[in-house]
Amino acid sequence: MSPAELLDRVFTFEGTGQLLALDFVQSSLLAGALLALVAGALGPLVVARQVSFAVHGTSELTFTGAAAALLVSASAVSVGALVGAVTAALVFGLLGLRERERERDSVIGVVLAFGLGLGGLFLWLYEGRASNQFSLLFGQIVAVGRDDLWLLAAAVAAVLVVLAAAWRPLLFASVDADVARARGVPVRGLSVVFAVLVGVATGLAVPTVGALLVLALLITPAAAAAHLTANPVTAMLLATLIAEVAVVGGIVASLAPGAPISAYVTAIAFVMYLSCRVTGAVRARRGSSRRAVTT
């Protein structure tokens, strides 16, 4: 295949219009938009708490949980993913309370490598369709049914409600745990709450967007937003917007080529990250410097 043909194959919108009219395409777009909402909202706190690696570990272990569930029944995958994700997030969250940072990261690395290997074994044992296996890593958003959508919407709403209720103490504990503790904020309890929130979000996202894509939703938009604003609320809104553009844009772009959505979503997120970074740097250089970064 020549480079031109390759490009044509990857970037084509032939028939995108008809595809968008399809029911299952609309369901996946809605699912993607819901996931982006929760990922964008949680992302800035993930970045502030410096737990990106733990989130990555959580999404890999979600894959393990989903793969194990696949052995039982293909319909148990989402439950398996959720159980795997919340367990992993809780373990890493509690680990973060006890271990020093360096030890924490190496322990996460050790556990996630083992979990990934175990997941590989489960997939090998699984005798169903190979596409199910592939989708756990790279996402299979077309698999979202109407019922799944309602469940997803309910779970996303629950995460957002808890996040809003715990927002101030969670932010306090995330930016300055010592002072927050001194002010009576239940720092440990909030770590557990946050771990569960991240676990639920990851567990929801993995069967749909794939284990490898979760970081593109949770980390990239938040990291991009941080280059444009220091206001925590604006950062959260901006991260959500970036996540939405990446997911919805990525799904639409992947329709006509029929390619896995992960490449498109991550690419859009990455390009937005780069432009935010450049914009932030240019703004900082324009003399007005750091004091100018206001809202």
Binding site: R168, P169, V175
Partner: protein, 285 residues
């Protein structure tokens, strides 16, 4: 001499402008307080009254229970025996009567938090919910920023400020709730001399203007020596409370350390020579 103490003597003449807080109620009151971890007793029989507006320096070597004392006052560690009261009520976790200034530790450069957000957390960061912006809240935060001269970096990302600027914001954060007692845990550590002076002068000005009692844990008394009304010096379960001139003497410190210690006065600085383990590292008890 275990238990030697001077009750609420210092401070009154140093605080002519205490207007809002009653003078009779001690801001901090410890009675026969004992703190022990397992078989190890950090201190015992500690009686201490700190008046509103008084500046008390808490000194002592590593592991002598300075930080633990703050934890007791913050309600994070219960006393093994005795009583502890802040502004008349028992110490409890998350009390509004206490402000807390920690050691300077750099905030992440990429943190999405502005100076005003950091200060605002001191006002309502412990409350549940999202917290909608209100003119009153905004006003209080700006006043707190003004009080420490940090208005010009209200909107700057905190992670990009210098250590001294961050520490000013932390003082504002501790004071924005208008506490009766300000607890400072080595707030000058890792600051350069100029910033040490600014931060300690801010704290000094506040306690004079608003009658806030200050407990200032430090391994180094010199930066705050001119402001200190009394010293609580803790060593291995022994302690002494009194004016700096009474406590910071060769005789008293030699007794506390149970070894020969010399205190030398060079101009307006005190040099403590021969005290073992006078390092800067503070950890959990």
């Amino acid at each position: 001499m275990n238990g030697a103490h001077v009750t609420t003597a210092g401070g009154t003449e140093a605080t002519p402008q205490v207007h809002r807080r009653s003078r009779d109620a001690a801001a901090v009151r410890l009675r026969d307080a004992r703190l022990a971890y397992g078989t190890r007793t950090l201190w015992d029989g500690l009686d201490l009254d700190v008046s509103p507006g008084e500046f008390l320096a808490v000194l002592g070597p590593n592991g002598s229970g300075k930080t633990s004392l703050l934890r007791v006052l913050l309600g994070l560690t219960p006393l093994s025996a005795g009583r502890v009261e802040l502004a008349g009520s028992p110490a409890r976790r998350g009390s509004r009567t206490v402000g807390y200034v920690p050691q300077q530790r750099a905030l992440e450069p990429g943190l999405t938090l502005r100076g005003r957000d950091l200060v605002g957390l001191g006002l309502d960061g412990h409350r549940w919910g999202f917290g909608l912006p209100s003119p009153t809240r905004r006003q209080r935060v700006l006043e707190a920023l003004d009080a420490v001269g940090a208005r010009q970096y209200a909107n700057a990302p905190v992670g990009q400020l210098s250590g001294g600027e961050q520490q000013r914001l932390r003082v504002a954060q501790a004071l924005v709730g208008d506490p009766d007692v300000l607890l400072c845990d080595e707030p000058l550590l890792s600051l350069d001399l100029a910033h040490q002076r600014t931060v300690s002068e801010l704290i000094d000005a506040r306690r004079r203007a608003a009658g806030t009692a200050v407990l200032f844990v430090t391994h180094e008394i010199n930066p705050v020596l001119p402001m200190v009304d009394r010293v609580l010096y803790l060593v291995d379960g022994r302690f002494r409370i009194g004016a700096p001139d009474e406590v910071m003497t060769s005789a008293v410190l030699s007794e506390l350390y149970a070894t020969e210690v010399d205190v030398i006065r060079v101009r307006d600085r005190l040099l403590v020579v021969g005290a073992p383990d006078h390092d800067h590292h503070l950890g959990q008890p």
